[in-house]
Symmetry: D2
């Protein structure tokens, strides 16, 4: 299968390219980039791929559709909002790692991304691909979830779907490394600023909030809102989403652990470790989400520790998982990755 | 003034020694250590003090009382529980950085520290020295607060003392660097384990929980409990205590910010920065606590970001501040420190 | 093929286990450990392999020989010096990641390792497996090179083998992350000590010096000695060996680059990048050694920058490469690894 | 004394400002900046000085001379080359942290800095202020040495001045943290790039090479050149300059250590620690240079390990030391700093 990849210059595109090279169903990868006006070579475009002279083509919808059977977009916000309708109209399979086609509501997109949304009729055709909970099989357009949204929603699903917590009590204190902030050098990602520091950012303004609310409300319409905060920590890769919620009056600790066990027992990419709380390190390098829980009877609060590699399960790994589902390949194909230990 | 310092081998003792050397009221520092059986020299006991041949004496209560006017204990749990009564009986001033004399209740100490407490009559004579909110003036025995407790209580005080939040809604997600975990090499403080990782530890079991509850209940007896979690982050120094609470129905955002402003406007060592959320870096190297707040009307939640240098405001700096109060020196004496920028 | 692995508890053993699991010629891995007295399970012995209940057996030569076709030792110094003779006597294939069987001279081993060596007759039968320069094909006992030795010897080989530099002018300033220092927690690997620090260690005393001299002298008997220094840097994985040497009077810059090009042009695991100096990051996660060179006409000095992942090319990766050579598998089998980017 | 500071926006200016605030001879600090066109406030110009409303004025030579008794320039290359003549003509004291007035030779400046130099007659009037080896007393214009130059020259001085080493054998492998690379965000100082990485940069092209050669030749005209390499390491502050040289035939190890001892025994800011090799950490936070040496009889090579805090001894600290010398204050005034331990 020939696959197209748009956006190799970003971190997620770079990792996705590595995964696709090892995927048994992929016979060739065609690279495209919006910034090019004429064909170039990969190590010219991304110097770290030193010696790799794979061609990179200027972005071209028609060429992508003609020469490939699927396209992955690892582009920044605003790109696919414009081009998604063409692919949807053509019925051409797309896996979109950007946030453009995740929200069903145009105004929500405009509010949180501060850019014009794709027309609502196309937004409605997009599938929100939280791959461990819903399959992309037979879909055309997959909106791959955001990194924070993935860790947080997988941590919340058993509680919210089974109505185990007070609906208005969800508080999420999420931590991420610098690859989540993108490749462009900025004052807040300068080594001198990140190192030996913790920085809270986008307080109550993170653009993953509406996609989480959209999913949570679909699972349980009683959830009114979530308190969601993000802190930049001095690591490169990994997200820890620490989730707190008050447990409903009639719910026991055993019901909590059973909900997690049942939700994830057959899921190859989610590990529920009970009250053994996972470190970030256990998942970095893999497509795994590891989840631990601790119930505190004194405060009647459940704490969920959900960790992922933001570039794999939170981006490129889940994209490949959606690709596998969409084409009905074995779900784990190309994703048998070992954690980057020690 | 001659001062005694017991426990130079730990991180807090090391930093306290540096502060006392620069304190204008201190004419000499006598060092004592429990592990010695005969006198040694500082750079033999703590190699990093290369070239410093100040004597270090075996621990000896009588010598301390005879040759000094005050003693600082920077010792681990279990040491001062045994010796505090002697100093209290003698009316000799003590500033105790350990947790031994913070709790008024013997059983609480036994439960959280798993060691026998000092007798209750002595515990009652100890002053819990949260120096920015209560003065140690004319006290004999000051129990210097724990690092997490300091950051968290200073962040909560305006809310709890002014009854602005729902009493059962407090959730604290606190993060600390490795100096908070002590100097002894362990698997969980090995560079290979800490680096590029986040580790939740002592979930619901951190020994600073009871001292926080003791203070909170004194401020507002309606507070039933707090949810308190600690995560080890790959930095050396600094604590960020991220605090969440539901705001009471009749309370406005302005009332929240006014409470912080009024509580701290005359406090030289607490900076309230409104909704400019402080980074850890702004306080590292100083005795400052910096606090920012953001109110979220969607969830009716206030988030407090309270940051300190765990070895200064969270240990040695606050100890000197208590020393200044106890002897009625100017509060900022010996503590005009600049943040370690950039 | 059934393979035995002794020493899963160390960093190199852990990574080797991951590689062997993905190796197409390996049908089963039997784990053995010297510290066990009865069989256990992997996640009991190494908690990071959470959920993996593969049995780990007490070390037993006879069982290893009976149940496997090859054994990998990822053990610390002193272990294989004792057991190597038995395997050699039995003609059973061994790949030994420790330093015990690298030196041909018993007294050298005793001097640098401070332990008794294996008998000289067995040392002579061991093959020093610097896999990119000499094949282990048809060998019985492969002594896998040390991590520093690998990076340094690959950087020096074209210069020394082609007699391009002044023999007494070699200076190596090597830098390594903490995984090179092993898993046991020590004061010098405590996060607080490593972080924001550089520490020179084992000045002129590093045990890889004699194995490098043994190889260099074999290539060019004029080399009298090398100046070799090691600095611990705050990273987990990776070695950079920065090598300096005076260029011989009649040698041109072009002759230098040609020597590197010719030595490595057909080597799948060594990349010569000319005067593009490689970062450590380009090799971490792979079995690659990347080498760049810069000639300075002002000082008549060539600087070689040789970087590897110390746990892969410097340990487990090269071990698998030797395994492939020994059994005449394709050299790259099980080693098509992508760098851990970004 | 009123002092002017130009360039508070850079790292060195920031730290210099902190030092001058604590200097007993400084009654007021007037801040000026080239980028301003009208007066501003410090926390507007440098947000980290949150709450500090000290005015910052547009740069103005005449105002500086009229309102101050000395000016410190912490500006980037190219600024003082233009304005130095005016101050020299006026006989107004300047301490210049930039590289503009360090080289005596106009063409050398043009070659290494790629900018036009100040006229040679002014360059000749500038004093190269390597403060531990030569006093700035009664000078007008002090060119404060570069950070790498300071660590390297202090490490080499005893060897070169006493003619103990082979003149053409000097090799310097210097390592620096990111504050040495400046505040402007770039791809090579992005956290994701620096973290877990080592990067060699400016191979044989570092602009501190000519100022080192100028000093070395003055000390010993036989020195033809030095081999000087720089590696960026994942730390914020600190330089380690690792220096190698062949020892002259008639020189003993004792003569080496005596040369260091004698050169530095009365110097308050240089510590010679013999063969105890200093870590970077011992000097960070102070104006100290710590130097250790190890002689290797096998290679007849001396290795010098010279460490400093690049922003203090390598910039702002040495600038204050020069200020003290220039005005004949006690050399240690305002510089009694403790290392930032642990």
């Amino acid at each position: 299968m020939q696959v197209a990849l748009v956006g190799i210059t970003g971190y997620a595109g770079m990792v996705l390219y590595q995964l696709l090279q090892n995927h048994p169903a992929v016979s060739g990868i065609n690279l495209y980039d919006h910034k090019l006006t004429k064909a170039s070579e990969l190590d010219q475009v991304v110097p770290i791929f030193n010696g790799n002279q794979t061609p990179v083509w200027p972005y071209d919808d028609d060429a992508i559709i003609k020469d490939n059977q699927v396209v992955f977009f690892a582009t920044s916000a605003g790109v696919t909002a414009k081009v998604a309708p063409k692919y949807l109209a053509a019925g051409f399979p797309v896996i979109d790692l950007s946030g453009d086609m995740r929200l069903k509501n145009e105004r929500q997109y405009l509010k949180w991304y501060n850019k014009p949304a794709a027309p609502a009729k196309f937004l409605r055709q997009s599938h929100y691909g939280l791959a461990d909970l819903v399959s992309a099989k037979a879909q055309t357009y997959v909106a791959n979830p955001g990194c924070y949204a993935t860790a947080t929603l997988l941590g919340l699903a058993p509680l919210v779907q089974n109505n185990l917590i007070e609906p208005d009590s969800i508080i999420v204190d999420a931590k991420s490394g610098t690859t989540g902030a993108g490749k462009t050098p900025t004052p807040s990602t300068h080594f001198t600023q990140v190192d030996e520091n913790l920085q809270i950012y986008k307080a109550n303004r993170h653009q993953h909030i509406p996609e989480m609310m959209q999913a949570l409300k679909r699972w349980n319409e009683q959830i009114p809102a979530i308190q969601f905060m993000t802190t930049l920590v001095p690591i490169r890769r990994g997200i820890m989403s620490t989730i707190y919620a008050k447990v409903r009056a009639d719910i026991t600790e055993q019901m909590l652990t059973e909900a997690f066990t049942q939700t994830y027992q057959d899921k190859p990419f989610v590990s529920y470790t009970g009250n053994q709380l996972p470190d970030i390190k256990q998942t970095v390098g893999t497509n795994q989400c590891a989840i631990g829980t601790v119930y505190n009877p004194v405060t009647n609060t459940v704490m969920v520790d959900s960790v992922i590699d933001n570039l794999l399960k939170g981006a490129a790994g889940q994209a490949v998982q959606n690709f596998n589902q969409l084409f009905d390949f074995k779900e784990t194909q190309g994703l048998k990755l070992q954690p980057f230990l020690p």
